[in-house]
């Protein structure tokens, strides 16, 4: 792959960083507004970085369901904004907004940007379109989908997943390993909503939702907010933590059409097929250099399809990849070390970026003993806590990648390195 001239002034590889991350508790029934949840997560990110409100002047958010707009949260927190933007979007918006935050800073509009996502995704607005939305008249594009009982994410993606099984012989047991591995990671994560380890049998014997998706192939729905803070490397070292430096970003890359990506096959190919040509060029690394991935797991299949199309294995070998043990903590390239959307909580991808930032710092929260300053003394024993393990820190970590998913036809990516 041809590299580009990274000495050019316009070239942004390694010039920006994430300096703070924060989240609320992952819960079902937060008992508060998305405004209160949002300020909670942002304040945690500010405290994490040790940055005062006076040194933040940009804010961005996204939502596809419930949220509260940036200026409200900024006002509550005493942050005077020089730039804000609230956009519509679900999964894979996190990485895209980090790229746009870099652009806003580069354009001189502001200097330090908070990106947040706040949602009562279980107690208020669930993704599947239940509640009041089920009675909204069906018109326009939805006449070709919702009218067929083809509405929720799982229903929408199912033909893509099914065709992968047909084309490549992928088995339910192989794909179930994504949930199994993420549940192992979640068991060592005090913040995870689901901490119980599950087996392949648990997954394939769980209730069928929409073939090929069993209940345990689907992510958890939770109420939570998440936030991170982006600034230039010039400023990034003024704050409390070692920054996670941004090597490259690709945002909202699409297949030829996203409303019916099925018209332009192969339909078991997803947006990662196109993203890889942008993200690895921008970051100056390839999949072989990535030591830890955050492949969006709205469903077990979404992690698998992305890892395959980004080139972590050959096309069609995703089933082998996810069931090989590579993705386990202690494996060659762990995936979603927090438990991800399948187990930790559902935040449209933000929690997987937060996780990788902490991994790069060597500071993930787990059940290892703490020193006098509250820092974990990592054992790198990934057995369950009750068996003397409880760790989930990846040792000697230099480079991570997030693979953000919106739908088969759209995704984003972010590559970071240790600061």
């Amino acid at each position: 792959m041809t590299d580009i001239d990274t000495t050019a002034d316009k070239y942004l590889r390694d010039k920006y960083a994430i300096i703070g991350v924060g989240e609320t508790t992952y819960t079902r029934g937060s008992g508060m507004t998305t405004r209160a949840l949002g300020t909670w997560a942002i304040k945690n990110a500010m405290d994490d970085a040790g940055i005062p409100a006076s040194e933040i002047d940009g804010m961005m958010s996204y939502s596809g369901n419930d949220s509260t707009a940036s200026p409200m949260l900024a006002g509550d927190l005493g942050i005077r904004l020089n730039f804000y933007m609230d956009v519509q979007g679900g999964g894979s918006s996190s990485e895209a907004l980090i790229g746009l935050a870099i652009g806003a800073i580069e354009a001189g509009m502001c200097e330090t940007v908070v990106v947040f996502r706040s949602m009562n995704g279980f107690s208020q607005v669930r993704i599947g379109g239940t509640g009041a939305r089920a009675s909204v008249p069906v018109g326009g594009d939805a006449l070709h989908s919702a009218a067929y009982g083809w509405f929720s994410a799982g229903q929408n993606f199912s033909p893509t997943f099914m065709r992968h099984m047909y084309d490549y012989g992928t088995t339910p047991e192989q794909v179930a390993m994504v949930k199994v591995i993420h549940s192992e990671h979640a068991s060592n994560n005090p913040k995870a909503y689901y901490k119980q380890r599950v087996t392949v049998e648990d997954v394939v014997n769980s209730r069928m939702i929409c073939k090929p998706l069993h209940l345990l192939d689907c992510c958890v729905e939770t109420d939570n907010a998440t936030a991170l803070i982006v600034t230039s490397v010039d400023k990034a070292y003024d704050y409390r933590n070692t920054p996670a430096r941004i090597l490259g970003v690709a945002g909202r890359v699409c297949k030829p059409r996203i409303d019916m990506h099925f018209q332009h096959g192969p339909i078991s190919t997803v947006a990662g097929h196109y993203i890889k040509d942008i993200i690895y060029r921008n970051a100056g690394v390839g999949p072989e250099d990535i030591q830890c991935t955050g492949a969006y797991d709205a469903f077990t299949f979404t992690s698998m399809l992305q890892l395959e199309d980004y080139g972590f294995c050959e096309k069609g070998e995703g089933g082998d990849y996810v069931s090989s043990g590579i993705m386990r903590l202690g494996g060659e390239r762990p995936n979603n070390t927090s438990g991800g959307h399948l187990c930790e909580g559902y935040t449209h991808g933000m929690n997987m970026i937060i996780e990788n930032v902490r991994q790069l710092r060597g500071e993930v929260d787990c059940y290892c003993p703490q020193d006098d300053n509250g820092k974990r003394i990592h054992s790198y024993n990934y057995a369950p806590p009750e068996e003397g393990g409880g760790c989930r820190q990846v040792p000697d970590l230099e480079i991570t990648q997030n693979l953000g998913w919106a739908m088969p036809g759209t995704g984003s990516s972010l590559i970071m390195r240790k600061g």
């Binding site: 069906v138 006449l143 067929y148 009982g149 099925f262």
Partner: protein, 178 residues
Amino acid sequence: MPQGEYLGMTLTVLDLDNENLAYFQHCADHDFHLQQCADPECALIRYPPGTACPWCSGREFNWVPVDARGTVHSYGEVHHAIQPAFRERAPYMILLVELDTQAGEPTEHEALRVAGNLVDADGNFAGPDLVKQVGIGSRMRMVFADVAEGLALPHWTLDDEAEQPETPWRYPQAVNGV
């Protein structure tokens, strides 16, 4: 404005939505039509209805009759329905049927893949015995479910006149016999 109740949902085609108005009027006439690019050098047919040609960006088009037969390219099979009226019809199939017309054009992996539910020859939702006969490779023909004046939904049923594969590909795990 064509509007009607269908499985507990209100289906509406808005007055300004000219492409869908024409598409669903043809469906209401039980005469499947799609848009064909009016540029003779392109002349590709497209689905779903849209406002320009995805291959040449041309805005001019003509509605042309299309033979509504094809092969199941992929499917989803819903066992846990969300919309209330679909619950009593579960398990139900969401089919993507690749039309014979324009299959593999303009490039190898492109085709007109038309969505619909699996229904019987009379247009009623398929029962479990029919669902378990259909999978990737099944040969299908279109039938219409009338909703209102100017509005019918295209659906799919097994094409009795076509040669069917001995065993269409189905997801390997049966649920309650389906």
